[in-house]
Subunit: 698 residues, 2 copies
């Protein structure tokens, strides 16, 4: 795809469907271009009129004296594809289709959209829409949209899958004091996707932060790795809606039930370095901090407040958002004591008292900006009788000019702060009404800073000692047998081929063979009827534990076969499986559910029979899984405390756990046919581990 | 205490420390009374001037021609107590002390405040402060405060422990469109507490909802029962700040470590029927709904939106807030289909499409207000080109006039909604900017409706078959021995005296006695060295399990004594405890930590060795514990699923669990000397239960 530069900075724009009738979309777009002070050439295209809103109009793009950089199409859906074909012939590379009546109406619309898509592909066009509200760039300036007003200028890009939400947000921005670089209404995403736009905006000098409202994520070969290359450059904040219960209920495997459809999105965003928020409010609260602030070096926050309550509320929030109360050095405390009254609090949060004049704020800010113990500062101002809200704003603007720390202002109130807020925003200092917001955004700022240090190695790809062919053969056999579930012995063989430590299970088809296998894997062993058709094996006498010699093994074999025959005369068992009895260890579960969009998702957590009740599980996508992420996955669970040696108990072999996770990832990435996999429990020992029960479903 | 009516509706007010110097607090208060159109008599009190701001001034309250209904004191702290004494002599019943310099400065201030308190008590005064910002009542109107502006009139009472926060909130209210009945700055709470104020406001016809910002909760004999009597009458929404980690870390017992100091507050508020919020924003978001809305009959919410995205975001929020998507009847769907275009969504959320004119909103609203399947309605408006934001507001006002369902409006945008928002608020319809808010507040509205149906019985007080004397004797012995921890056999005896089912443990001091006890409780038994000084009993050979006859018992006794002597020659054990071996059951934990302010707090959850890791625990305060709350406590845990029969397993005897909780509550309420109690595990069987390990610390 060509760069999208000319899409947002076109030297000329054609509006196909331009109109002189007020209220018509084709009128509004031409009008918006004119009103929005677009400086390039505007070519209205219209079959009837010779002049549109004072501009020379053309019958077709084919008649234009040049190929415009951008075409905006706003005609009834039936006519769009022929016109798009014309655009292609005219070598127009950027097209926005406003027209609705495509995929979103189903039936005929779906066909029209397929056609539209193939025309765009044929001519290698960048295509936004159809069913888009249009695009705007406040720096160009270009308002090639249906939206009534040009968004206020700023450095926040906003991509929205909902046109109406975009209109709402632009309207809201006029009172909330945020500004945009580009606004893009995605529409049906038939051509250019949000992923391509994000990649592009990451290199846009006018954009400091990318905000996205999404209802679905576009298909991508490698979502995580694609976005990882850009998410470190610029913060990407996404509000993805549509976390449905229905999806979660549908997931069927053990760990799948815990996953829910939304887990894959959350996990994908996280691994891609994208910040996911849950409300519209939060989306812009966070974005406004990214759009203005320096990044903190760490998570130590200082609060300056003229109301004790504001400090306490900040501290409460810090706990919720993993932000630390800054631990001032003696030197810092001493400096503060020198400038503050006796009753003031000179540790964090710094209470400059209700009667604080401007200078007290100014001097405190100076000291804290200078203190190495402080990574970020929240300044809280209550409009007390003595507070010169305007003067304090000036002092903050002046004091932070050369600062490299994020400073967030909390002006608690309304009319008292109208002017100060305006002034602060003009000087790129974010302002909030309540203390909680400043803490919350600091969490995001710090997370983006931490993202810079993340290493993305490829431990899964690096595994080269697996026997793929052996697994292929097993799967072929299972399929040939008309089964979709592997026998225990088959699953063990798969684990063995992929270097996953497991308790040996082998299939015997005679008493003698059972005894041989048992001897080979060393007694004691368990014998179990082998059949995917017999479900409650213990109940029918199909399991014998604690077999400790050859004679017992042979006897057990015969008994099991007899019991099975008695209970299910119609079923021919595959034989009897011999499994080595293992010492018990720390029980963990490693599993996989395959997400339609993002591929294998690996689960890890506390194992055992109560796994679904305890719900101590963490998910990561296998694609792109890094060593750091495997560490994270383990550490996010409660069972990790057991693995590290809980209350004086012996620890577990964490390297072995990592190895199992990595190899399950490798296996499920190598074989698309595995639809579900669950190893529960894996016994983790002080040295080594052993997968006890491996379930693989194709 | 007298009713506080005259405090807020005084016929006359004396301002002690009234002043003619602008900027002085004594000036501002007189000025605020005048500017605030206070209609009663104002008596400035000042030793120097004869006239204050045009009003006749007096040297002392003793000189006044009558006893004013309210006195406001604003003079340096040293002079306050003598003046308060004069107020008492003059029979002034309501006093607000603005002056600072009391408890908050420590040392001398603490003494001054004690004195102040006793004077107020002596004369049976209602006293607000000291260190208060004052009070205001927008209906009287009375602005007896230091705050620059009279808060906008409304039906929300606001009590604040922080003066500066009150100023901030009043300032903010001018832009946020909320209005107040009364604002009260608590100051140091030396006299009238927030609890007394809440009790009083519950009967105030001008107040519909009580909002409170608290940093500490005042002492009260019976917080839960006092507030329960009023919390059903009027919604009480509290932001309690200061949830410190430090407190949590200090808690020492097993369950205490999970509790944290803040848990007691949360639990107390919940049991008292108070809504606790975590941010300032939420406090007023929720309060504005209570102040305007009807209560929903249930949790089924319908959404009307002109943007699909708004609907999806609402549904996402519903899941988070336990609100249901309304399930429309065929009839409702049919009615909607008749009035809406083909492309509109006629199930919940109802998408009236981006081009929706006013009538489409109006008609949809009418149908949904009329539908029994809908308990609450959220109306989302995006300022699309076709949306007549003003007309829609009018239609909503008109359409909801006779409605008895809560209708919440989400006007997504800024300038497009300036007028509509004003209009809606004037007509007592709450307006929000984002869809999430409407859903969140509906959760609170529904919870308040549900509170109306809560029954507060007293199952703990009703227990009358306990042997208090037996427990007293045991505790006396423990104390006499200089111990603070009970032996297992003592704890068992306590449990027995209080009807808590437990595995018998008895103390033997000879081999013969051990055998007798074992026989009495029936074999098999466990023998255990009895000593609070020997910690790792198993390690030194101090425990013998599976003893199945008299001979084994005697032999085990002697061995244990010998082993103990060998390992700890200096310790004289109390003997050997004999405990009946029980079948294992579903493991639960029942415990108690004593909160300094709220008394015994009972914990319940999944038991076993990993209790602190799994953290499946729910807390309730013992005081006032109702049967419904015991049910809730059980149902809030994951282990409740095991008790109900998990995945085909046998269920547990839930009645027995309730019995144990009730009796632990009774025991710990009866005996203040119990500082900690932990029963872990309790084995719960299909019938009955058995406490295995009971730890009681005095």
């Amino acid at each position: 795809m060509d760069s999208l530069d000319k899409m947002f900075k076109p030297d000329s724009v054609a509006i196909i469907g331009a109109s002189n009738s007020e209220g018509k979309v084709g009128y509004i777009i031409v009008n918006n271009l004119l009103e929005g002070n677009y400086k390039g050439k505007i070519y209205p295209i219209n079959p009837k009129d010779d002049e549109i809103q004072g501009l020379k109009s053309y019958k077709s793009v084919l008649d234009l004296p040049e190929a415009p950089d951008l075409a905006v199409i706003s005609i009834p859906s039936k006519g769009v594809n022929p016109v798009l074909e014309e655009c292609g012939k005219k070598s127009i590379k950027n097209v926005v289709v406003i027209s609705a009546g495509f995929k979103e109406i189903g039936g005929e619309g779906v066909k029209l959209e397929e056609e539209l898509k193939s025309i765009a592909e044929k001519y290698d066009m960048n295509l936004i829409g159809p069913n888009s509200l249009g695009i705007s760039d406040s720096h160009t300036p270009l308002n090639a949209s249906f939206s009534q007003s040009m968004p206020p200028k700023g450095n926040m890009a906003f991509i929205s899958q909902s046109g109406a939400m975009m209109v709402a947000i632009i309207d809201w921005s006029f009172t909330s004091g945020i500004g945009f670089s580009k606004c893009i209404s995605l529409g049906n995403k038939a051509g250019t996707t949000e992923i391509e736009l994000i990649e592009n905006l990451a290199n846009d000098p006018e954009t400091a932060v990318i905000t996205v409202y999404l209802e679905s994520v576009s298909e991508s070969d490698d979502f995580i790795n694609t976005l990882r290359t850009v998410s470190k450059k610029k913060p990407i904040v996404v509000l993805k809606s549509g976390c449905s219960v229905a999806g979660a209920a549908a997931a069927s495997s053990h760990t799948g039930a815990l996953a829910g459809s939304d887990t894959a999105f959350t996990t994908a965003f996280e691994q891609a370095g994208i910040f996911r928020v849950t409300t519209m409010d939060e989306l812009f609260e966070v974005a406004s901090a990214f759009s203005n602030c320096e990044l903190p070096k760490g998570r130590n926050m200082a609060v300056i407040t003229n109301a004790g309550g504001g400090g306490v509320l900040s501290v409460d929030s810090m706990e919720r958002h993993n932000i630390n109360i800054a631990d001032f050095s003696d030197e810092t405390v001493k400096k503060l004591e020198e400038i503050l009254p006796l009753e003031a609090a000179c540790t964090d949060p710094v209470d400059v008292l209700g009667d604080a004049p401007t200078d007290r704020y100014k001097d405190t800010l100076e000291i804290l900006l200078d203190s190495d113990e402080v990574d970020a500062i929240s300044i809280i101002v209550c409009p007390t009788a003595k507070a010169d809200t305007d003067g304090i704003a000036d002092a903050i603007i002046e004091g932070t000019k050369d600062s490299n720390k994020p400073v967030l202002v909390v002006n608690m109130g309304g009319p008292s702060f109208t002017e100060p807020n305006k002034k602060l925003r003009e000087n790129e200092i974010p302002v909030y009404v309540f203390p909680e917001s400043a803490v919350k955004v600091t969490d995001y700022l710090a997370s983006f800073e931490e993202l810079q240090h993340k290493k993305f190695d490829t431990p899964v790809d690096d595994i080269d000692d697996v026997d793929k062919e052996a697994v292929e053969k097993i799967f072929e056999k299972v399929k040939a047998d008309g089964r979709d579930t592997l026998l225990g012995s088959e699953a063990y063989a798969v684990a063995e081929a992929y270097g996953i430590s497991a308790a040996p299970i082998k299939l015997s088809t005679s008493a003698e063979e059972a005894a041989d296998l048992a001897e080979e894997m060393e007694f004691p062993v368990v014998l179990k009827i082998a059949s995917d058709k017999i479900l409650h094996k213990s109940d029918i006498g199909g399991v014998k534990v604690g077999i400790s010699n050859r004679d017992e093994a042979k006897e057990a074999y015969d008994e099991i076969i007899a019991n099975a025959k008695k209970a299910h005369p119609d079923i021919v068992p595959d034989g009897v499986e011999v499994q080595k009895m293992m010492d018990s260890g720390i029980e963990v579960i490693v599993g996989m559910v395959r997400d339609e969009q993002f591929g294998p998702m690996i689960s890890f957590g506390m194992g055992g029979v109560l796994v679904n009740l305890i719900e101590d599980v963490s998910f990561k996508l296998a694609k792109g899984l890094s060593s750091e992420e495997i560490d994270e996955q383990i550490n996010e669970t409660k069972v990790s405390k057991l693995l590290k040696g809980y209350r004086g108990e012996a620890p577990g072999d964490i390297d072995e756990v990592k190895n199992t996770i990595k190899r399950v990832a490798k296996l499920t990435l190598d074989f698309d046919d595995i639809s579900e996999l669950d190893i529960n429990p894996v016994f983790v020992y002080e040295e080594g581990s052993s997968a006890l029960d491996i379930k693989i479903k194709l």
